[in-house]
């Protein structure tokens, strides 16, 4: 199966530093960055990032991908796509952020705890075929060892409960067995 997916694959020394870790189409595109900073100026969360989007591209082009992965930047992307639609060089920066998150998980290099919610999400979807919000939150706060987070959420949770808006039981799709088969098939073939 063609497995040339973003962020996948072993390090190939014959390639440039960026191409070693990122999908070639993204690596090609970021070469076209003119460092204008429109992405950083458009980003609603850039102020909280270790490195702004413009900086991230500069760092990747300099081969400093480990430094990039150690930063909080990918985990502060809310996926609003302003950077993507405004980039004069056509760089799909939001998709680059997704690719960096996947790469970070694959290599195990990220600020502590960053992917927990995302991973808890995929495991609930794998189990039911749909999102299971309560289980997701329970897993999240359990894994981040953050009972305070749960307590903080309690007043809101109670309100939601009283309005009949708390999804107490997950919904499992009928095709769950097929879904499991597909996941297994991908796992066997190294799909991520």
């Amino acid at each position: 199966m063609a497995q040339k997916v973003i962020g996948a694959g072993p390090i190939e020394p014959s390639l440039g530093l960026v191409e070693r870790v990122l999908d070639r189409s993204i690596a090609e595109k970021i070469k076209g960055c003119i460092q204008c900073g429109t992405c950083s100026a458009s980003c609603p969360t850039a102020y909280a990032m270790d490195y702004t989007p413009r900086w991230i591209i500069a760092a990747l082009r300099a081969g400093q991908w480990e430094r990039v992965l150690k930063s909080n930047t990918p985990w502060l992307c809310a996926s609003c796509y302003y950077c993507t639609v405004r980039c004069p060089s056509g760089i799909e920066f939001t998709d680059l952020m997704y690719a960096l998150k996947r790469l970070a998980i694959e290599r195990g290099i990220y600020p502590k705890g960053s992917p927990v919610l995302y991973q808890a999400f995929t495991s609930t979807v794998d189990r039911y075929g749909r999102s299971a919000e309560m289980e997701l939150m329970a897993r999240y706060y359990l894994r981040t060892l953050n009972p305070w987070g749960l307590i903080k959420m309690a007043p809101m949770g109670l309100k939601m409960l009283l309005k009949g808006r708390l999804p107490l039981l997950p919904h499992k799709i009928e095709g769950q067995k097929d879904m499991a088969k597909m996941l297994e098939y991908m796992r066997e073939r190294g799909g991520k």
Binding site: V85, F121, D178, M179
Partner: protein, 296 residues
């Protein structure tokens, strides 16, 4: 007009009022929404952050089921996240490598996707397909004098911009004006609510929500109309935490646009899921309830 309907996970319980009001509005406008049988998670942003191929397989299963159920057809979503991810999947599946990989995996479940489904958002379906004429005609109880901030969030017009302007969408402004509401100028209308960051980086998301609420209040809006369940939840459920963090006291009802449309169509409040909001809209909506609703 028949459409395949994809409610999305959060519409089952936590945002069920969105699902209810969508179905009620569609019926009142003679649209046929047929729910996609056994739909699954759209693939969604957190999944895409963890793994690529399985994310597209999730999306593709929905597209394949829709094709099997209704042939070349429109798959209508009401969640911006579902809309953007299903559309991304649909576009990416035009790439031969990915399409081959996904097709091979779908085959394991006896499914196939030929690529004939169109992904739509209910807002633009109303504006583009149902249209101004019929909506004005059916809006027998116009929301005259109700000041509404139209809020689109991110993933309706971005990244593709297929149905509206990338940065200054207008579909919701137009729809609200057709039903008599007073649409306030709301320049942050396509800015971000923080999305999932509300759980992982609360400080950052609260600031975004604070800015959105503050501008709506400043512009005199009595409520904010949303087109996305996550935007709705972030803007509504976190008003108290915004207060705790910034000392800014807001009490702004955050309604699904379908609820406002439904009221103007004369539908009863229960049928629109009104009353399930955390910031009560009873006061601001009292003048617009149908006679039947008032008696309930």
């Amino acid at each position: 007009m028949a459409y395949t309907y994809y409610p999305g996970c959060s519409q089952e319980v936590s945002n069920r009022a969105y699902n209810l009001s969508t179905r009620a509005v569609a019926k009142a406008l003679d649209m046929e929404l047929v729910e996609l049988n056994d739909w699954n998670c759209c693939g969604t942003s957190p999944s895409y952050s963890v793994r690529e191929l399985p994310t597209f397989v999730l999306g593709a299963r929905n597209l394949a089921l829709a094709e099997r159920q209704a042939g070349a057809s429109d798959l209508v979503t009401i969640c911006n996240g579902c809309f953007a991810m299903l559309e991304k999947t649909n576009l990416r599946l035009k790439e031969s490598d990915l399409s081959r990989s996904v097709g091979e995996v779908l085959g394991v479940a006896g499914l196939e996707y030929k690529g004939s489904v169109r992904v739509r958002h209910f807002l633009e379906v109303l504006v583009n397909d149902v249209g101004e004429g019929l909506i004005r005609e059916r809006a027998s109880l116009p929301l005259e004098g109700l000041k509404v901030a139209p809020y689109y969030g991110c993933q309706f017009s971005r990244p593709e911009g297929r149905y509206d302007d990338l940065e200054f969408p207008t579909a919701l402004d137009r729809l609200l004006s057709w039903i008599g509401a007073e649409v306030v100028d709301y320049p942050l209308k396509a800015q971000c609510c923080g999305g999932l960051l509300m759980t992982t980086k609360e400080e950052v998301a609260l600031k975004l929500v604070r800015d959105l609420l503050a501008l709506a209040q400043k512009r005199g809006a009595r409520c904010i109309a949303t087109i996305c369940p996550l935007c709705q939840l972030n803007l509504e459920a976190y008003q108290e935490r915004v207060k705790a963090r910034f000392g800014a006291d807001f009490s702004i009802p955050i309604l699904y646009f379908t609820q406002l449309l439904g009221l103007s169509l004369g539908l009863e409040r229960k049928a629109l899921g009104l009353g399930t909001e955390l910031v009560s809209a009873t006061g601001i909506l009292a003048p617009y309830l149908s006679v039947a609703s008032r008696e309930v």
